[in-house]
């Protein structure tokens, strides 16, 4: 009994310390700072905003970069990212172009990268990859080589790159092994000095904290849309952090 009071005090202090961090405006999908901080700068993005007050972003990805249905793209994270960035970077012209094709492997996306860069001339490429490769059981070496080819192409097009890994999908986790592919993406991003948007860890943290019940079986689109909204927000935060566009409010989720 005598121990309970100091222990409770400790816990209260710990919770208090955690709560003392700047509270985001949308507490429903908070992301730990460590998941959105980056050692790597998005220098091109910084310059675009500073010099030209505009930011052209291209998203390259497969099925998990959109939502099913005719208006799926409208609620998917690329569109949400555009909306959030416009809100958070007022006075700048923001454009997000999504190149999403279902069932595209990383190799296929890498080979299309140059043409995409020539057409869009983006300052930043967000490249979502890995899920289809895991589905098809692409060899890890080949996967890594494709990633590096694509990242090099983006660099040669003098754009910044963010690599985005898979969704956290607990219900298919025992059937679809994404972990090894996620490791390759982590290393490749680190080696090539590009930012990794760790969607896997972020969604896992939402699942662990009860923000979203990702085990839920549902035909309803509401949760899927909220998840994409939150991914768009987290992505916007990471861009703003890595490009140092929001010095006052660095590394908050919103």
């Amino acid at each position: 009994m005598t121990l309970i009071v100091p222990v409770l005090t400790m816990i209260a202090l710990l919770i208090g310390a955690a709560a003392a961090e700047p509270t985001p405006a949308t507490p429903d999908c908070d992301v730990a700072e460590s998941l959105l901080s980056s050692e790597i700068d998005l220098a091109r993005v910084t310059n675009e905003i500073k010099d030209r007050h505009r930011l052209d972003i291209s998203v390259v990805g497969s099925g998990s970069s959109t939502l099913p249905g005719p208006d799926g793209a409208r609620f998917a994270y690329p569109a949400r990212l555009e909306a959030v960035l416009r809100e958070r970077l007022p006075g700048n012209e923001i454009k997000v172009t999504a190149h999403v094709q279902l069932r595209q492997t990383t190799a296929e996306m890498a080979s299309g990268m140059q043409a995409m860069l020539a057409e869009d001339k983006p300052a930043l490429v967000i490249w979502q990859a890995g899920t289809v490769d895991a589905l098809r059981g692409i060899e890890l070496d080949d996967f890594r080589a494709s990633l590096e080819t694509g990242i090099e192409a983006v660099g040669a097009g003098s754009a910044d790159a963010i690599v985005m890994n898979m969704q956290y999908s607990p219900r298919t986790e025992s059937m679809l092994g994404v972990e090894a592919y996620a490791d390759v993406m982590h290393w490749a991003a680190q080696q090539r000095g590009v930012v990794l948007f760790d969607r896997l860890a972020i969604m896992r943290s939402w699942s662990d904290s009860g923000t979203f019940d990702l085990y839920a079986a549902t035909k309803d689109y509401a949760m899927a849309r909220r998840v994409h909204e939150c991914i768009g927000r987290a992505l916007a935060s990471q861009i703003i952090n890595a490009a140092h566009l929001d010095a006052g409010k660095m590394q908050t989720t919103r």
């Binding site: 050692e39 025992s174 079986a217």
Partner: protein
């Protein structure tokens, strides 16, 4: 591996350390197979390059040589080969049994789970649309669900084992050199067995055979030759230094802010650490672990007889049964976690319950084998051969 154990050919005194570490490895494999299990944080793969698979394969090679080496010496090549192949067949049947359970789980998820968020991931269930191909590929060991790669590896290693054992018994160093050469050729020429629908085996048997053959080599007298080396304090210091280095590197995987302390030349050289082809860093990490374990745990260490370690030892003595049970329990555990939407407390409870079930089953098997051995005296000799140094 052993420092003080007598030559295996002349004694049937079992080295309990093998059973202990194999039992622990089986627990760790079980824990690692429940994805995102909170208890995973305690398994060794988070503290270094190698994981329980290395321990399991090495000890399997060691006990395999121990048991079948004696048969080959006493009863000849033909009979021992037949026994090895029978073992491979048992493992094959066990693997197919586990595959059936896996299919049942998949079919259930396909029938009950739907979520527009995961439209892409659900494509993994597409193979249910062509069961003819899938099941056939599974029977060929080409289609292997996640986390079901160890038994197929073990099967191939056993299929290759009779000729290898033949050479090991006559020219052990030549056999080990041949094994190392094959390993080197894998790295040079990059060959592996094909998988379905794409790619190659997750554990390349041509690379992982090195660990298996090394275990066998140790069992057939290699351990005695290494004993002097393993007693050296310099070797111990190097091993400990390497383990600390590996630990420091794994820390940078979990705490991204630490990554900048890894110099670029080092990560360029080091990554990727290839599990498929048994990266040298992993192999070295296993060797360092083994060296430290042997140094501090002599085979006559009295603690090995203590009741505290007994549960792990019993599990290690029935490795195939307990391994399969572990895979099954991991499936079942995932299923329960998924159906009740997770939670760290539930994960911990399931992990603990799983290990308790593994221990209870191992004790039951021990009891049954003992009873059976007593009631049929003609089988006693056979039973002893099987149990010497644990099952192969």
């Amino acid at each position: 591996m052993t420092k003080a154990s007598p030559p295996p050919a002349t004694s049937s005194e079992r080295d309990l350390r093998l059973d202990l570490f194999r039992g622990l490895a089986l627990w760790l494999i079980f824990l690692d197979h429940i994805p995102q299990n909170i208890v995973n944080w305690f398994t060794i793969r988070n503290y270094g390059f190698s994981d329980a698979t290395e321990i399991f394969i090495f000890i399997s090679g060691y006990t395999g040589a121990f048991v079948y080496g004696r048969t080959m010496r006493e009863r000849g090549f033909l009979l021992s080969s037949a026994r090895i192949l029978r073992r491979a067949w048992q493992i094959y049947v066990a693997h197919i049994f586990l595959f059936t359970i896996f299919m049942a789980e998949i079919a259930y998820v396909a029938a009950t789970f739907d979520n527009p968020l995961y439209a892409e991931e659900m494509k993994i269930l597409d193979f249910l649309k062509q069961p003819d191909v899938t099941i056939f590929q599974a029977l060929l060991l080409k289609f292997k669900p996640v986390n079901m790669d160890v038994l197929p590896l073990y099967i191939v290693l056993l299929l290759l084992f009779p000729p290898m054992l033949y050479v090991l018994l006559r020219r052990p160093n030549l056999a080990l050199a041949g094994s190392a050469l094959l390993y080197a050729l894998v790295w040079k020429l990059d060959f592996n067995l094909p998988a379905y629908p794409n790619g190659v085996w997750f554990f390349n048997p041509f690379a992982w055979q090195l660990l298996f053959v090394f275990g066998a080599w140790c069992a057939l007298g290699g351990a005695e030759r290494l004993a002097e080396v393993l007693r050296s304090r310099i070797v111990l210091a190097v091993a400990i230094a390497y383990l600390i280095f590996a630990f420091a590197i794994t820390l940078t995987w979990h705490f991204e802010s630490l990554e900048r302390f890894v110099p670029a030349w080092l990560s360029d050289w080091m990554y990727p650490i290839d599990k498929t082809n048994l990266d040298v860093l992993r192999f070295a990490h296993f060797l360092a672990l083994a060296a430290v374990a042997i140094y501090f745990l002599p085979s006559d260490w009295p603690g090995l007889k203590s009741p505290i370690l007994r549960p792990a030892i019993v599990c290690g003595q029935h490795s195939l049964e307990i391994f399969c049970l572990g895979v099954f329990l991991a499936f079942a555990g995932q299923f329960i976690i998924a159906e009740s939407s997770g939670g760290p407390l539930l994960q911990a409870a399931i992990s603990l319950l799983g290990i308790l079930l593994m221990i209870a089953t191992a004790k039951l098997i021990s009891w049954y084998k003992a009873i059976e051995g007593r009631s049929t005296p003609t089988r006693v000799k056979q039973r002893d051969a099987d149990l010497a140094g644990g099952e192969a």
